[in-house]
Subunit: 461 residues, 2 copies
C-alpha cells in the first residue's frame, strides 16, 4: 500500500467514526501514537492524516494537547453561562427591565437619573448649534482615536482629578461599557481570572460572562476594597485584571482612601495586575477622591469614563485613557469591531461639556441629590431599612433590609406593583448580599415606592 | 504523612516548577497518573492538588485534555495575528489611513462617499427637529432592541427587497460592523472556520482576526460566489458562517443571480451553515438584486445593514434582522458589552429616512455615481487599467492593472503624492488579487488621482 493510500485510509476511518457518532463533537481523538499502534501504521502517516483532517476543519488541533472532534454550532446564550440565577438577581434581566420600563413604572433600582434630571437644556442647545456646523461634523466618520477637540478637552479635564493623560493617550468609544469591553478583548483570554468588588456594578458580571472568564469578588470596605483580601486573592488566583469604580463606588458609595489606593497599586505591581478604573460618577463628587490612575501615572491602570450619567444617556460616547502602545492596539480593535466612531455624538458631548451651563447644571444635580438622599433615608428608616454607610455624594444608597428578609423576594413582590428594585445579590459575585438592596435616591421620590416596600416587607415577616 | 500534607507537597512541587520556569506558561503538566507514579502518591491526591492549583488560577484545566500552566498577559495586537502583510495591503492600515486623511489627501481607495455627497440637508433638518423633541428622546437610553418606531420603519422597508422581518425580529446596533461583530461573538468560537468572498470588504478580514477564526475565501463570479467552489469549501472546511455583501458586491460590483442564491441556500441547508448578509449598499441599487434573506425567510440567513454609506457616517446606527430566538440572545450580548443603545442616533436616522427629501437625495446620488462611473472608466482606460466588470450601480470599480504591475507598489508610490489607493490584496484572503485595485468613482473626480497613477505606472514599467 502506498503512503498516500495509507493516509487516506486513516482519514476515512476517522471520518466514519465521526459520521457514525462513535467520536462525538468535543471528544479527544486517540493520540497519534495510539492510533498508529492500533492501525499498525507509522506515527508520521497518522500525524499527516490528522493534520489533513484538521486543515479540513473536521477535527481541531489544540497546541500541546492533541486533536479533537470539531463541535456543533453552539450559540453563546449568556443566560446559560454560570449558575442559574433567580430572575430578580440576574444582571441582564434587571438591565432589560430598567431599560424597557414604560413611564408608569417606578424604578428605585435603576442605575441612572430620571430624564428630567439630565442636561436637556444643553442637549437642545448642542443640537441647534450642530444644525449649523460644517459638513464634516455632520457627515464624516470620526478619526481613529476619535474627535481631536474632545480628546484635548478630556485631557485637560482629567487633570482636575490628578490623572495625566495626553490627548494621544485617549481614545473615544461608543460608551463606557464598550470601553471596558474593548479592554477585556485586548487583555483577556477565556478562562482567565478577573477580580471585581463584591458588591460591584452588576453589568460587570454580565460583561465578564460574555468574555468567559472566571470572576472573583473582593469585599468592599468604606475605603475601597479590603486590602488583605485583595492581596490574598492575588496570591490565590493570579488574576489578569481588576475592574472597579473610582470616585463614588457603585453600589456601596465607598470612597477609596489614599492609603488603600497606594497599597492596591503596590500589590498590583508585584503581581503584574492590570486595573480598569471606571470613573463615570466623577461629576457627582463634591470632594474629589483619589484616582488609581493618578497615583499610577497610567502605567498599569486604565482609566475610562462616559457621559451617559450626567449629560444624556441618549448620546453614546465614552473614553479610554491608557498607555500609548495599548491605545494604539485598542484603536485597531475598535476599527476591526466597530469601524469609525460617531463624530456627531462626540461633537454633541463636547458642545454640552464646554457649555457654561453644564457646571451650573451639575451643581444643581448635586444639591438635589443630597436633598433626595436625606429624604430617602428618612423614608427607609421607619421600614427598618438602614444604610451600610451614608455616601458623601452620588445617587446610590446601599441598604440592609430588616433581619431575615430576602431582598430578591421583596423585589419580586414590588415588581407586581410596578416598582423595579435592585436586590443585593445582583451585585454580589459570592451571592452574599441577599439582605441588601441598592436604592437610587433620584428615582425614589414617589411615595408609592415606599408603600410597595412596606407591603412587601409586611408580607415577608 | 497526612493526606492534606501530601496534597500540599504536590502543590508546592508544581508551584516551584512554575516559579523556576521548569514548567513554562502554556505547557501541559504531566498527567495526573504520571505525576502520581513519579511522586509515589495516589492518583486522587495528585488530582486534588491539581484541582486546587486550578482553582487558584496557577494552572488551567482543559476539558478532556489535562492541566496547563497558566500563561502570561499577552495583549491582543491584531497586527501580530496571521501572516505579516505589507502595510499597503493591511486592512487596518488602509482603514486608519482613510479615516485619518486630512482634506488635502485624495482617497480613490476609500470605501465611502465624499462628505458633500452625503445627506447633509436631511441631517440639518433632523438636528433642528430633534432640538424640539420630547425629553425622553434627548436624554434616555433606547429600549433593549432599539427605538421601536425605527424598527417598525425598517420592517416595512425591508419588504421592498422581499425580506420579511417583523419589528420583533430587528435589533438596532451602533453600526453595521458592530452588527457583524455581535453575530460573530454569538456564533463563533476561536478556531472555527468562516467563509468570505475572495475578494471581499477588507474589514471583514480585520474583524475575523479579532475573533481568532480561520478564514477561507471563495472566488467571486459576476453572479455571486462560485457555487462549485463554495460547495467544495463546505465539504473541505465545515465552516460555521459565511459573511457576504448583498446587492452590489464590495469590491467587485458582482450581483447575486437568483439561481446562485438558490444553490447557495441549498448547500447551506445541507451543511448547517449560517449566512450573514450585509446589505449596506441597498440604497445604491437601481434594480434590486435577490436577497438571500428573502429566499431563506430569515431562518439561517442573518440580514444586517446601516446608514453610514447613504445618510451620514457621523451617526452610528445599524441593525440586525434574524430569527426571534437569536435576536433575544443578541440583545443580551449587546447589553452586556455596550449597555443601552443610542436613542438620539436612531431618532436622527428615522427622521432622515422618513424625510421626503431622502428619496430625491438618493436618486441624485445614483445619477451622479453613474456619471462618475463613466468618467472614471474613461480616465482609467488610457492607463491600461480595465474593469473586471462594469457594475450596474454603486461606487466601486474593481480593476485590473496593466500586465505585471503590482498594485501594492503602485499604492506605495501614489501615497507619496497624497493619493490613497486600495490595492487588490487587501481584499483577497488568498492574496491572489495583486494586480487588482478598487476605485471609488465618487472619490476619483480629481485629475491628480490619474496623474499620480500615470507616474506610478510609468515608474513600475
Amino acid at each position: 500500500m502506498k503512503n498516500g493510500t495509507r493516509i487516506s485510509a486513516v482519514m476515512a476511518e476517522i471520518r466514519s467514526a465521526i459520521t457514525s457518532r462513535r467520536y462525538l463533537p468535543g471528544m479527544r481523538l486517540p493520540s497519534v501514537r495510539a492510533q498508529a499502534r492500533a492501525m499498525r501504521l507509522s506515527v508520521s502517516t497518522v500525524l499527516e492524516a490528522y493534520e489533513r483532517l484538521a486543515a479540513e476543519g473536521a477535527i481541531t488541533s489544540r497546541r500541546g494537547s492533541g486533536f479533537y472532534v470539531s463541535g456543533p454550532l453552539c450559540p453563546l446564550a449568556l443566560t446559560k453561562i454560570g449558575p442559574k440565577l433567580d430572575r430578580e438577581v440576574d444582571p441582564l434581566w434587571i438591565s432589560r427591565q430598567a431599560l424597557e420600563a414604560d413611564a408608569g413604572v417606578l424604578r428605585p433600582g435603576c442605575g441612572w437619573l430620571p430624564s428630567e434630571w439630565m442636561y436637556e437644556k444643553g442637549m437642545r442647545r448642542a443640537l441647534r448649534s450642530l444644525a449649523r456646523a460644517d459638513t464634516a461634523a455632520l457627515t464624516e466618520y470620526a478619526t481613529p482615536p476619535g474627535l481631536s477637540a474632545l480628546r484635548q478637552f478630556l485631557s485637560r479635564r482629567l487633570l482636575a482629578t490628578g490623572v495625566e493623560a495626553s490627548p494621544e493617550q485617549i481614545m473615544l468609544t461608543e460608551s463606557g461599557t464598550q470601553a471596558i469591553d474593548l479592554i477585556c478583548r485586548f487583555l483577556l483570554e477565556p478562562g482567565d481570572t478577573v477580580l471585581v468588588d463584591d458588591p460591584c456594578y452588576f453589568n460587570f458580571h454580565a460583561l465578564l460572562k460574555a468574555h468567559r472568564v472566571r470572576v472573583v469578588g473582593v469585599p468592599v470596605t468604606p475605603n475601597g476594597p479590603d486590602v488583605a483580601m485583595f492581596g490574598a486573592a492575588l496570591q490565590a488566583h493570579s488574576p489578569r485584571l481588576y475592574i472597579t469604580n473610582s470616585a463614588i463606588h457603585n453600589p456601596t458609595g465607598a470612597v477609596l482612601s489614599p492609603v488603600t489606593a497606594h497599597r492596591l497599586l503596590s500589590l498590583a505591581d508585584s503581581s503584574d495586575l492590570v486595573i480598569v478604573e471606571d470613573d463615570i460618577f466623577a461629576d457627582f463628587e463634591v470632594h474629589p477622591a483619589p484616582r488609581l490612575a493618578a497615583f499610577d501615572g497610567l502605567s498599569r491602570v486604565i482609566h475610562i469614563g462616559s457621559f451617559s450619567k450626567t449629560v444624556s444617556a441618549s448620546l453614546r460616547c465614552g473614553y479610554i485613557a491608557a498607555r500609548p502602545d495599548w491605545i494604539d492596539s485598542l484603536i485597531d480593535l475598535k476599527i476591526a469591531t466597530g469601524f469609525g466612531g460617531g463624530r456627531l455624538a462626540s461633537e454633541m458631548v463636547l458642545a454640552a461639556l464646554t457649555d457654561s451651563g453644564y457646571r451650573r447644571h451639575m451643581e444643581a444635580v448635586r444639591v438635589r441629590l443630597a436633598r433626595e438622599m436625606d429624604n430617602t433615608l428618612a423614608r427607609l428608616e421607619p421600614l427598618g431599612i438602614t444604610p451600610w454607610r451614608v455616601p458623601q455624594a452620588g445617587m446610590f444608597l446601599w441598604c440592609r433590609l430588616p433581619d431575615g428578609v430576602d431582598a430578591a423576594a421583596i423585589a419580586r413582590a414590588c415588581l407586581k406593583e410596578d416598582v423595579v428594585l435592585a436586590p443585593g445579590n445582583a451585585f454580589s459575585q459570592s451571592l452574599s448580599a441577599g439582605s441588601f438592596a441598592r436604592f437610587n435616591v433620584a428615582q425614589s421620590t414617589d411615595n408609592r415606592v415606599f408603600e410597595a416596600l412596606a407591603r412587601a416587607l409586611d408580607k415577608a415577616r
